[in-house]
């Protein structure tokens, strides 16, 4: 009898322990999550800016027709389904019923027409929506998208950070104040509660939210009651606030402060490759960079390992193709094949190529000459952070094959504008990227982007082929076909060698692991949303202790 009682008691104890552990592992509702942000968005009006921090906050408040799931597949969100006409010009999108703005007003197709037209007319990304001819509300829950030409990626494009649904009445009532003070009246899991300019932005949970994406562990409402975004421009202040516990989570911890995060108790720091690529751009309009032999020689002279080790303090990965593994469209299956088309690091061959192009060190001063002219190039770089060091390493590597460079430092705010408009550079160190490789590659490499984001000015030799492949990649009917064409374009981009891939930077995220839960779920999201890999899946995180 006594033995039986002991057994029962033992089982009860095990059951209680298991229940306790399960209760502890369950996300808790309530509390305040404090983000430390390096920058303050100028506005939260979706059409206000292209800043990543703005999108990071807006994604808590507003929602899209479609979103990407953990595997990077497009899934309906506020849309329910869609049909496409045989000619690919008419897209009829059925909207989910029962979705309301925060003030309780139902979201209808008319709201989408207003919002998407507003985005197209005054948004900074209006060019993306160029294939759209017209948005029409067929009835309350059917949105028709009429296209000028077949564009199978239209719903993908409508996940851009300004293509949210907004309430016309709120926008018009608030006027100039829309986006800078509450209410924003979106449809997402949070609403703007307070914005103390320069100090913090406070969001409050919408308790009635109930339409989180199916693949999320939580479909809503969000676990965290309040999310506060504190504006802490100074990196060390942000880091100290995290260590002291007044900030729970912060992105973009500078490398120089990693040691503080690593020494502090209960801080988890992870790095993810960003959807960006550092590159060395060559101005193909300038002699001798119009000679492919010289361009290949320059690319072969670049050794990426020391650049990552020294300039990025090891926090990055050498890049061998002009597409980041974090971009949607990266050729994961054919990576080695694509990479083979890019010049490998080989200084000896670089010298041979330069010799074959007629460049020799006649006077023995270490700088090559041709027709009495020395091989001297300007190397433009931005001021601050890793850029000067990166430029110096490249300068040294090029000097070893006989190319002399003069580093010209330009303030970041004017750097890309100066490259595109003035075109005075020979070489330029830049960094660029975008979540969708299908959009990014034309921006950087298509001849129609010359004078804008293509500062190589390369419009001959392989350029027409690259243009054609990039154009085809936009309109092919299936994703596999589109990515296949993109991979082909990447090969030709490698062969043209007007942009040399240097490194893939990382995105560091640090958080208090004893306070914040669910971040693991957030960062495993394969396609890290539209912005620069900032985790936005606000339905998942929760506060472990209040």
């Amino acid at each position: 009898m006594k033995q039986r009682s002991m057994k029962v008691l033992g089982l009860l104890a095990i059951w209680l322990l298991a229940a306790g552990i399960m209760a502890l592992a369950q996300p808790r509702s309530g509390g305040r999550l404090v983000w430390g942000l390096y920058e303050e968005p100028p506005t939260l009006d979706p059409v206000g800016s292209t800043l990543a921090v703005q999108h990071m906050i807006n994604d808590h408040i507003f929602e899209h027709l479609c979103v990407f799931d953990n595997e990077g597949r497009l899934q309906p969100h506020l849309a329910e389904s869609w049909t496409v006409s045989p000619d690919g010009l008419i897209w009829d999108v059925k909207l989910k019923k029962g979705i309301t703005f925060h003030n309780g007003k139902p979201v209808t197709a008319a709201d989408w027409v207003y919002s998407l037209n507003r985005t197209r007319e005054i948004g900074p990304r209006s060019g993306f929506y160029e294939p759209v001819d017209e948005y029409i509300a067929l009835d309350d829950y059917t949105l028709r998208i009429k296209l000028k030409r077949p564009f199978p990626r239209i719903l993908e494009i409508l996940t851009l950070p300004d293509a949210y649904v907004v309430d016309k009445e709120t926008v018009e009532t608030m006027g100039d104040r829309f986006g800078v003070e509450p209410p924003l009246n979106g449809t997402g899991p949070y609403e703007l509660k307070e914005w103390v300019r320069g100090e913090y932005i406070l969001l409050e949970r919408v308790d009635t939210y109930n339409h989180g994406p199916k693949w999320r562990t939580n479909q809503g409402p969000a676990y965290v009651q309040e999310v506060q975004f504190r504006i802490l421009h100074e990196d060390s202040t942000r880091m100290f606030e995290l260590i002291q516990g007044d900030v729970d989570i912060t992105p973009f911890v500078p490398f120089s402060l990693y040691h503080l995060a690593e020494k502090a108790p209960n801080i988890e720091l992870v790095e993810r490759v960003r959807n960006m690529t550092y590159h060395l751009a060559m101005n193909a309009k300038h002699e001798p960079l119009n000679d492919p032999m010289v361009r290949w020689a320059i690319a072969m002279a670049i050794d990426r390992e020391p650049i990552v080790k020294v300039a990025l303090k090891g926090h990055g990965q050498p890049a061998y193709i002009l597409c980041s593994p974090s971009q949607l469209g990266f050729p994961h299956d054919s990576y080695e094949e694509v990479k083979a088309y890019y010049p490998p690091t080989d200084p000896e061959r670089a010298r041979m190529y330069l010799k074959a192009a007629g460049w020799e060190d006649v006077d023995g001063d270490g700088v090559l000459e041709k027709d009495g002219k020395e091989l001297r190039l300007s190397l433009w770089a931005q001021t601050g952070a890793e850029w000067p060091l990166m430029a110096q390493i490249i300068q040294d590597q090029l000097a070893k094959v006989g190319i002399a460079t003069e580093i010209i430092s330009i303030e970041t705010g004017t750097f890309y504008g100066a490259l595109a408009k003035q075109g005075k550079h020979d070489l330029a160190l830049g960094m660029s990227g975008y979540p969708f490789a299908l959009d990014f590659e034309p921006f950087q490499h298509h001849t129609r982007s010359i004078g804008g984001s293509n500062y190589s000015f390369y419009d001959y030799e392989l350029a027409p082929t690259i243009d054609r492949l990039l154009d085809i990649a936009q309109v092919l009917p299936t994703e596999d076909e589109r990515y296949g064409a993109l991979a082909e374009a990447l090969k030709f981009i490698g062969m043209a060698s007007v942009y040399v891939p240097i490194a893939w930077p990382v995105y560091p995220l640090a958080w208090k692991k004893d306070r914040v839960g669910g971040v693991d779920q957030v960062i495993k999201h394969a396609f890290q949303t539209q912005v620069d890999s900032i985790p936005l899946d606000c339905l998942e995180y929760y506060i472990k202790k209040k």
């Binding site: 920058e39 100028p42 990304r125 100039d176 800078v180 320069g198 100090e199 100074e234 060390s236 804008g452």
Partner: protein
Amino acid sequence: MFWAFPTIFIIATIVFFLMRVVPGDPALLIAGPFATPEQVEKLRVQFGLDRPLIHQYAAWLWGLIRGDWGKSFQTRSPVLPLLAERFPKTLQLTAVGLLISLAMGIPLGIMAATRTHTAVDYISTAIAVFGISMPMFWLALVLQLIFSVILGWFPLSGSGKGLWTPDNLWHLVLPAFSLGLPYAAQYLRFTRSTLLEVLGQDYIKVARSKGLSERRVVYLHALRNALIPIVTLLGLRLPWMIGGAVVIETIYAWPGMGSFVVRAIYNRDFHVVEGFMVFLAALVVFTNIAVDLLYALINPTIRYD
């Protein structure tokens, strides 16, 4: 007084044209690096940057007079409320910083001047040299490290709830000292040298020969005259302090105008920068008028016809 408004007008004009000369297109910065030339042009039209420069200037100036200081390109909302909502905290930080600098600098300067070549003089000189030579951002970081991170006495950043509330004042301590201490050192040296000069003058000797106490001589007769150059320095240093507040505001995440305007400069947010400069110019002009009036108060023999 008459020149106050023409001065502000000239400064506003210079700033307007200077911002247009500085390289960098605000539309390009907002559109991002991957915008097409058409997208950028669309934004330029929206912002009115496609119009002839003289038209832009005339429209801006006319707006300025009517109290419409234009819209921020970044927030798309009017500039004046944006600046006005940040101004109280910048003013608070600058005012308290100034008060600290005066409260520490002038008494220590008097002590150093009245006890020349004593330990008090040498110590205060050493403090002054240290205060003048150390960079303000370094002092701010050191104070933050010692009093917030290590000792935990004061908050690390932010401005607390409200304005002039106990929480707000608690948050203000470190930023205000970081801003005020370097200026305290300047006032200390300046007070010492000015007072020493005055104390050597004949009318001070006469006052002493009449048997007045040293305290009366220093505080009633000497200090009054020594204050005139100090007040001049105060007028000159005020705009410098607002400049210094930019650094302090960034380090302590103090929500003032400084960090906001720095971002505006980087983003070529013309109207915000222009508005801030007009504001600053007005502040300098009216501070100098106030200083001139203070002269007359300190020394009644000074008159303005």
